[in-house]
C-alpha cells in the first residue's frame, strides 16, 4: 500500500514537472532571444542563452515609431483595456442591481430572454457589428473596442447571482431610513459585491488586452491599433530571421501588463472560477 502511494506520487511529479518545463521554456527562450545581438543570430551556432546579453533589440524597437510603433500600441491597448474594465464594472453593477433588486413586471422573463439571445453564436453578428461601428464613426478609434463588449450578459449574470446571496433585510432597513435606490446601490450593495466585481474586472481587462479577431477587423490605421493587432504586422516587418531579437522583444513587451496583473492579483484569478463553477456546476 505504501509503495503504491509513492508510485502515484512519483507519476504525479513526473507529469507536472514535464509539463512545467514545456510550459515555461518558450517564454524563457523568447526572453533570451530578445537579448541576443543580430550578429550572434546570423553567425554563431545555436545556444540556449545569448553569448552576450545586449539591449539593442529593445532600443531598436522603441525607436521604430513609423511602421511598428510598439509604445503607441501598448498605450492604445492600455487605454482600451482600462477604460473598458472601468465601464464594465459600472454597467454590470448597475444592471445587476436592476435585475435582482428592483421590482418590475416581467423582470426575470426579460433577463432570461436577453441571456438566451446572448447565447446565440457571436460569429453571426460579427459583420453587422462592423457596419454599426462604421456608422457610429468608430472605425480606427478606441471606442470600437471599449463599448460593444459592455453589452455582454455573462458578467451581469454572475453579479445578479452574487447579489441574490445578499439578504434583503439590509436594503429594507436602509429604505426605512429613507434611502432611495441609488443610496442603497452605492452604500449598501456596492461594497458587498466587491469580490465578484474584482473578478469580472480582471477577466474583462485580460479579455480586452488579448482580443485579436475584432481588432484585426476594425483597425487599419497603424497608429490607432492595439498591440495584439500590431503583432500580426510584425511578422512582415521583422520577418527576416536576423531581426528575430526585435520580434521577440516586441512579443515580450506585449506580455508584461497581463503578467504584472497576474502577479498582483493571483489569488483572484485562481479563486475566481470557483465562483463560476460553484454556480454552474
Amino acid at each position: 500500500m505504501l509503495k503504491r502511494i509513492s508510485v502515484s506520487q512519483y507519476l504525479a511529479y513526473l507529469f507536472l514537472i514535464a509539463l512545467c518545463i514545456v510550459w515555461a521554456v518558450p517564454v524563457l527562450f523568447g526572453i533570451a532571444t530578445s537579448f541576443r545581438s543580430e550578429s550572434e543570430v546570423v553567425t554563431s551556432g545555436f545556444r540556449l542563452l545569448p553569448a552576450q546579453w545586449i539591449f539593442d533589440n529593445y532600443t531598436n524597437i522603441l525607436q521604430n515609431t513609423s511602421t511598428a510603433p510598439i509604445l503607441r500600441w501598448l498605450g492604445n491597448s492600455l487605454f482600451i483595456a482600462v477604460t473598458h474594465t472601468f465601464l464594465v464594472i459600472v454597467v454590470i453593477s448597475i444592471t445587476g442591481y436592476g435585475y435582482s433588486r428592483m421590482n418590475f413586471k416581467g423582470r426575470d422573463t426579460l433577463f432570461f430572454t436577453l441571456l438566451g439571445i446572448s447565447f446565440f453564436p457571436g460569429v453571426v453578428n460579427l459583420i453587422p457589428s462592423y457596419k454599426i461601428i462604421d456608422a457610429l464613426g468608430w472605425v480606427n478609434t478606441a471606442w470600437a473596442m471599449i463599448i460593444p463588449g459592455l453589452a455582454g450578459m455573462g458578467n451581469i449574470f454572475l453579479v445578479r447571482q452574487f447579489m441574490k446571496g445578499i439578504p434583503n433585510e439590509l436594503d429594507e432597513s436602509a429604505r426605512v431610513d429613507g434611502a432611495g435606490d441609488f443610496r442603497i446601490y452605492a452604500s449598501v450593495i456596492l461594497p458587498l459585491i466587491k469580490p465578484v466585481l474584482i473578478v469580472c474586472g480582471l477577466f474583462s481587462f485580460v479579455g480586452s488586452w488579448n482580443d485579436f479577431l475584432w481588432p484585426v477587423i476594425v483597425y487599419t490605421d497603424v497608429d490607432k491599433m492595439p498591440v495584439t493587432a500590431g503583432l500580426l504586422l510584425l511578422q512582415d516587418i521583422y520577418g527576416n530571421y536576423r531581426m528575430i531579437g526585435q520580434l521577440m522583444g516586441s512579443a515580450i513587451l506585449a506580455m508584461i501588463p497581463t503578467f504584472l496583473l497576474f502577479f498582483f492579483a493571483q489569488k483572484h484569478f485562481l479563486q475566481s472560477i470557483n465562483l463560476n463553477s460553484g454556480i454552474k456546476g
Binding site: Q9, P26, S129, L150, L213, A254, F262
Partner: protein, 291 residues
C-alpha cells in the same frame, strides 16, 4: 413619468440600449444579410436562398469548395483540440490534488500564465521554437522540417499553441470540483478495495460530471471559433489545409477586393447553426447519460 419608473430606466436602461445595439440588432441583421447580396457599402439586395444554395450545393462555385474546406478544417481542429483541452487539464488537476504533491501554487501558476498571453504574442514565440534554423526543435531535437509549411506538422504547432494557452481555465474548474468531492466516498471505495484508478473512475468522474459537461460544451463552442492560431502560425497553409472557416468569413467580408458580406454572412449563420446544434446535442446526450 413617475420617479420609480424613471429610476428603473436608469438602472436597466443603459445596458438594454447597449444590448439592442451591439447584440440584438447585429444578430438579426446578420441573419437577414445572409439572404442578400451585400458589399458592406450599399444597401443589401434581397437574394432569397441564393447564398445558401451556392455554398451548400453549387459544386462549380469557389464559395462551395472554400466553405467545405473551411468547415472540414474547423472540424479537424475541434476534434483534435477539445479532447486535449479536457483530458490534460483533468490530469493536471488530479495530479495537483494528490495529497503528497508540494509546490501546488507555483506549478498551477506556471501552467495558468500562458492563458494570459495574447495569441499573437504567444504565436511569435512558438514560431521561434519551431523555427528550423533558430529554434529548439531544429537544434535540440534535430528536426529538419519547416513545421508551418508541412502536414501534419502545421496542425501540430497550431494544437501545441492552443493547448499551451488553453488549459488554465478548465484546470482551475476541475481542481475546485475535485477538491469538493466528499472524502467519505473515497474512504468507502477504499474499504471496497478500490485502487487509485478505480477511485478516479467510479468516484471522482461521476462526482464532477456537471463541471465536465459544462466545460465540454463551452470548450467545443470556443474551438469552433478558432481563428488566431492558424492565422498566426500557418496563414492557412500549406495549400489551404489549415484554412479555417472564420478565416474565410473574415476574408470574404473584410479582405482586399470587393466585400462579399452577404455570402460571408451566410457562412457565419451556417457556422453558428453548427455550434448551436452541437452544443445542444452534447448537452442532451451527456446530461441524459449522467443522470
Amino acid at each position: 413619468m413617475n420617479k420609480k419608473v424613471f429610476t428603473l430606466y436608469l438602472f436597466v436602461g443603459p445596458h438594454l440600449i447597449l444590448f439592442a445595439v451591439f447584440i440584438f440588432l447585429p444578430t438579426i441583421f446578420g441573419i437577414y444579410a445572409s439572404f442578400t447580396h451585400w458589399n458592406l457599402m450599399n444597401n443589401p439586395v434581397w437574394a432569397g436562398l441564393d447564398n445558401y444554395k451556392t455554398i451548400l450545393f453549387d459544386s462549380g462555385s469557389t464559395f462551395h469548395t472554400q466553405f467545405l474546406n473551411g468547415l472540414k478544417n474547423t472540424f479537424i481542429f475541434v476534434v483534435l483540440s477539445v479532447p486535449l483541452l479536457i483530458v490534460i487539464p483533468l490530469l493536471i488537476a488530479v495530479a495537483l490534488e494528490h495529497k503528497k504533491v508540494k509546490f501546488k501554487g507555483v506549478i498551477q501558476s506556471i501552467l495558468y500564465i500562458p492563458g494570459l498571453i495574447s495569441v499573437s504574442a504567444a504565436a511569435l514565440i512558438w514560431l521561434l521554437i519551431f523555427n528550423k534554423q533558430l529554434g529548439i526543435t531544429g537544434n535540440v531535437f534535430g528536426s529538419t522540417v519547416a513545421w508551418p509549411a508541412n502536414q501534419p506538422y502545421a496542425w501540430i504547432i497550431i494544437l501545441v499553441l492552443s493547448v499551451w494557452g488553453g488549459v488554465g481555465g478548465n484546470m482551475i474548474i476541475y481542481r475546485a470540483s475535485i477538491n469538493g468531492v466528499a472524502q467519505d466516498l473515497y474512504e468507502a471505495a477504499a474499504i471496497d478495495g478500490a485502487g487509485p484508478l478505480r477511485k478516479f473512475i467510479s468516484v471522482t468522474l461521476p462526482s464532477i460530471r456537471f463541471p465536465l459537461i459544462y466545460t465540454f460544451v463551452m470548450t467545443t463552442a470556443a474551438s469552433f471559433n478558432v481563428f488566431a492560431q492558424p492565422l498566426m502560425m500557418t496563414k492557412g497553409g500549406p495549400r489551404q489545409s489549415t484554412q479555417v472557416l472564420m478565416m474565410d468569413i473574415r476574408q470574404l467580408a473584410f479582405g482586399s477586393g470587393e466585400s462579399i458580406a452577404g455570402m460571408a454572412s451566410a457562412m457565419a449563420v451556417l457556422l453558428g447553426l453548427v455550434i448551436l446544434v452541437i452544443s445542444a446535442l452534447q448537452y442532451y446526450v451527456m446530461n441524459r447519460n449522467a443522470s
